[in-house]
Symmetry: C2
Subunit: 382 residues, 2 copies
């Protein structure tokens, strides 16, 4: 069963198709690749599982097709790796009417989309996300980019794809830890925009963790709808779109201080949402029972609910370099109630009390704050 | 005296201020830098002449100001050099509300504009062109970018500036050869869009070559108007904007085959326009007397009117890799009459006859086509 949403961005609107079997057969995709020069951009892991099916579909109708395989992992999100895409496109003499198809998770989508944004001043692209996180987060909104040695995601562009295929079949090979990381953004969508959706996530969580693709399809669709509504109202991230950063200001600080990749982005956002909910209790009067309920849901999804116990100064330093900050003074997204979000600066006392109450995860032998990978419940030694 | 044009691109509209003394004092600029983090991006040659005046003006009102000095010349238009801008912005902790001010010719404008297009997914920029070519060409239209080892201008973005200052005073230090190269685009504007303007350029050419800034101001304004009208009708280069490539398909082939920088871009366009006019006589019935008049004007402006005498195959190979081509089959801009342009493919016989008639410049000792710099009339040995 396939559901198609439409992300309404005026002349840059595009469809998001959610279903199964789409890699092998999708009218949406076929229509867009027919007769064109097409470059599939993927990574070595995803490519080995899924490139062949997609290549067969594309080769049936495209004028020319190349596949560019990038290394797996966040370290690949560099200019040096991106340049392999440009070199391949230029060697194949791809012109301005060529199309890039991104097949992979967030890193591949960010890089392939950015390559499309700047190749010959912009060509079209199509996105096939292969992680839950990429389906519910980076597939909506057109953010693309790479890291700079001096900062993550510091170079990029807003470049909307022609369309998105979320083929749920690919989640079968997704590690449990990455599924949980994707659920962090799903929970976030409920928390900031739709309390009833949060109820449904709580109710269906065992199915979502257990590989029920019908329940997962509903979640992917609803999360894309919520993100799409926010993005449609604020495509270039001037205001409202900031509510999507719920849990992210704290989360980015965790990722940066631990070193990127030690915790997954979704894990850092899990603990970050617990911190943001605590801040919401203090600043905006969020009901403590609701904050506790959100915390329990995050934990049940297999995500951390405590941040490392670093001193306040460490948090402040890391949060003021968050690129959403204006010259060092960070704003925080809070939820006065479940399903509603506000954005703004907060009293420094409340921030200090929040850190003291929630950044409490000590390294297990003992010391200055947890510094290892998050032990996922399904893979943790018993 | 200052003239301000408005380039009408909807929400991306911007003013172009043409006059004298603007580096030291411009309300348009002051208004946009006040209270902000500002990075002047310039090169070593232009910076040594003009950065100090601009810095004084900006420092009076900006919150923070840095100056990034890039090497001079086309070889600097690389990712490696662009990265110096990003490193400087990140070291100074410039955020998404920062502004880049480009002070220089086409290379600086292309690089600074592209840096602004992708720094933190896009920040604002302001352009201060310091060559005639940059004033009448790259200051209008928002094209930015860098070269790739496999092709010129292959990476870039459309990113409109907040505004443009064309301070005619800076033309006083512009070498005669570069002034002539800028006039190539001025003549092109007349040829494709305004026969009366072409009359005026013919009439005022001695003044333009002789440093009469009043005549020059009128030309800069009118050329910007013409280009602005074309760009406004076709911001993303889907159709009409292609007429701005008059003389450029041939010109790019000359630049590529000689090696970029051997002839200036405007010099290659000069000879390219003579070729395109010949093609127009054959395909579109342009009056031969008018083609001859255009040729004489190009020569009088100090530009080449003969292209190197390469074999037809050389031309075809170089023109099919022009990035405006669709998969190897180039379109040509022609002028059925002075002041009117059309775009499309042409019969191969007419193309061959055009090359035979116009690509006739032999290396002076004699041989396979001219391969040295164009000898400008003012600097040519007598």
């Amino acid at each position: 069963m396939t559901t198609t949403l439409n992300l309404d961005l005026g002349e840059r609107s595009y469809p998001i198709e959610v279903g199964t079997g789409l890699l092998g057969q999708s009218e949406t995709l076929l229509h867009r690749v027919a007769g064109r020069q097409v470059a599939i951009v993927t990574n070595s892991v995803v490519g080995s599982h899924y490139a062949a099916a997609l290549e067969r579909q594309i080769d049936a109708v495209a004028a020319q097709r190349i596949t560019v395989v990038l290394p797996d992992g966040e370290a690949a999100k560099s200019w040096e790796t991106l340049d392999r895409v440009f070199t391949a496109l230029l060697e194949a003499r791809f012109d301005r009417s060529a199309l890039i198809v991104a097949l992979g998770g967030g890193v591949v989508g960010d890089m392939a989309g950015f390559a499309a944004a700047i190749y010959q001043r912009g060509i079209e692209w199509f996105q096939i996300p292969t992680t839950l996180l990429a389906m519910v987060d980076s597939s909506v909104g057109g953010k693309t980019g790479i890291n700079h040695p001096a900062g993550k995601n510091m170079l990029g562009a807003f470049h909307q794809p022609l369309g998105v295929l979320a083929d749920l079949d690919v989640l079968a090979t997704l590690p449990a830890r990455e599924l949980s990381a994707g659920l962090a953004e799903v929970i976030k969508h409920g928390a900031i925009a739709d309390a009833q959706y949060l109820d449904a996530i709580e109710r269906d969580l065992p199915k979502l963790l257990g590989g029920d693709w019908s329940a997962m399809g509903a979640v992917v669709s609803r999360s894309c709808e919520i993100k799409a509504a926010v993005v449609a109202a604020d495509e270039r991230e001037g205001g409202l779109r900031a509510i999507l950063n719920f849990g992210h200001t704290f989360g980015h600080a965790i990722e940066a201080e631990l070193g990127y990749g030690v915790w997954l982005h979704g894990e850092a956002v899990g603990a970050g949402m617990v911190m943001a909910a605590e801040l919401s209790c203090r600043v905006d009067g969020l009901d403590r029972a609701h904050a506790q309920r959100l915390r329990a849901l995050i934990a049940a999804a297999g995500l951390p609910v405590e941040a490392p116990a670093w001193p306040l100064e460490t948090w402040l330093r890391r949060m003021s370099s968050d690129k959403k900050a204006q010259a060092g003074n960070p704003k925080f997204v809070r939820i006065p109630r479940l399903g509603e979000a506000v954005v703004g600066r907060v009293p420094s006392d409340d921030l200090a009390a929040t850190v003291a109450a929630t950044a409490t995860l000590l390294q297990l032998p003992g010391g200055l704050g947890y510094i290892g990978p998050f032990p996922h419940p399904q893979t943790r030694p018993q």
